[in-house]
Amino acid sequence: MNYVYLSALLFSIGAAGVLLRRNAIVVFMCVELMLNATNLAFVAFARMQGNLDGQVIAFFVMVVAAAEVVIGLAIIVTIFRTRRSTSVDGANLLKY
């Protein structure tokens, strides 16, 4: 059960990072931390329930996270190329 508390704590820290930080790469790292926290919760629940479905879901989360990192970092590189900055405040052309 302690694992689930740890997972909730890490998820909140990641959410705070997404809201607080302005550098797009650091925001992305915080998203990764949130995904990791959910994985920890999945593994803990799998053990509590006594079946492996949670671990399978955590495995799929890892795969999706890897794909997401690839695409997200490619988008960040593209934005950096056009705007010379990775600040999330810089990308405001779709604002209005």
Binding site: M1, N2, I13, M29, N36, L40, A66, V77, T86
Partner: protein, 270 residues
């Protein structure tokens, strides 16, 4: 006999064994501290290293929870591939891309901290009401964790597995398309670059090397201009951004009223 069975049922019913509790209480504070470090460190590279520490702690915690396959995958995929990608992009973007600390939305920081605290409290206090069963994975892992996971993935979850392959191919294609840059104008050759350099007239010659006319010729020591002031252009931009610039020892001679300067000139007189 009956005491032995009672002990085993008691051991199966408890939350964690002693060794696992030690591992948890050793690694969980490290993970939390490292994630706080990731949140508060100013440089993105430090954030990346802190995140890698958190992920390693989580990998050990997976292994402690009867998920050795996921623990190994966590090390290989997250701390290996994903963090390598992060560091690679940091290298592309430049280490000097710091975070601006100016608040663009008023009160956003306070609101964000409040929202995160409230969300965490909601999660943690709602967990207190949860009914916990601790079945354990001994039965589910009877053939070994990897074999049983494979049995599940290739039977019940086989469709999700196939869809995952489509997702990975799409991600690879998307990354290639996003990172590809079409060159519309022709690439300037050396002659055109040289002509452009002379036309702009700022630096027809190459930039000064570090340490010229200074007492060191190390790369972190700026060259000295004829008036004795350090030349910023002689240093690498990355070194300036990292704050690794050594003050040129020769530059002190040009500072009037400096103690060392007075001492040196006095020595000259004597």
């Amino acid at each position: 006999m009956s005491t032995a069975t009672a002990l085993t049922t008691l051991a199966a019913g408890t939350d964690t064994g002693t060794g696992e509790a030690v591992v948890f209480w050793l690694l969980a504070p490290i993970a939390v501290l490292a994630s706080f470090g990731m949140l508060f460190s100013k440089k993105a590279v430090h954030s990346a290293l802190m995140l890698a520490a958190t992920m390693l702690c989580l990998a050990v915690l997976y292994i402690a929870q009867d998920a050795p396959f996921l623990g190994v995958v966590q090390v290989v995929v997250y701390t290996g591939a994903v963090m390598m990608l992060f560091l690679f992009v940091l290298m592309l973007v430049g280490v000097d891309s710091g975070d601006s600390l100016v608040e663009t939305l008023r009160g956003q920081r306070v609101a964000a901290v409040l929202a995160a605290l409230g969300f965490g409290a909601l999660l943690i206090f709602s967990l207190g009401d949860a009914v916990v069963t601790n079945t354990g994975l001994d039965e589910a892992n009877s053939d070994g964790n990897v074999q049983d996971l494979a049995n599940l993935i290739f039977s019940r979850y086989v469709f999700a597995f196939e869809v995952t392959s489509a997702l990975l191919i799409t991600a690879a294609l998307g990354a290639m398309i996003l990172a590809h840059r079409e060159r519309h104008e022709h690439r300037p050759n050396q002659r055109e670059l040289s002509e452009q350099r002379f036309r702009s007239g700022i630096h027809p010659a190459p930039l000064p090397g570090p340490g010229v006319y200074a007492r060191h010729n190390a790369v972190d020591t700026p060259a000295l201009l004829p008036d004795g002031s350090p030349a910023e252009v002689s240093l690498s931009r990355v070194l300036i951004a990292r704050g690794d610039v050594r003050r040129s020892p020769g530059a002190e001679l040009a500072v009037p009223g400096d103690d060392e300067n007075a001492h040196l000139s006095g020595g000259d007189d004597g």
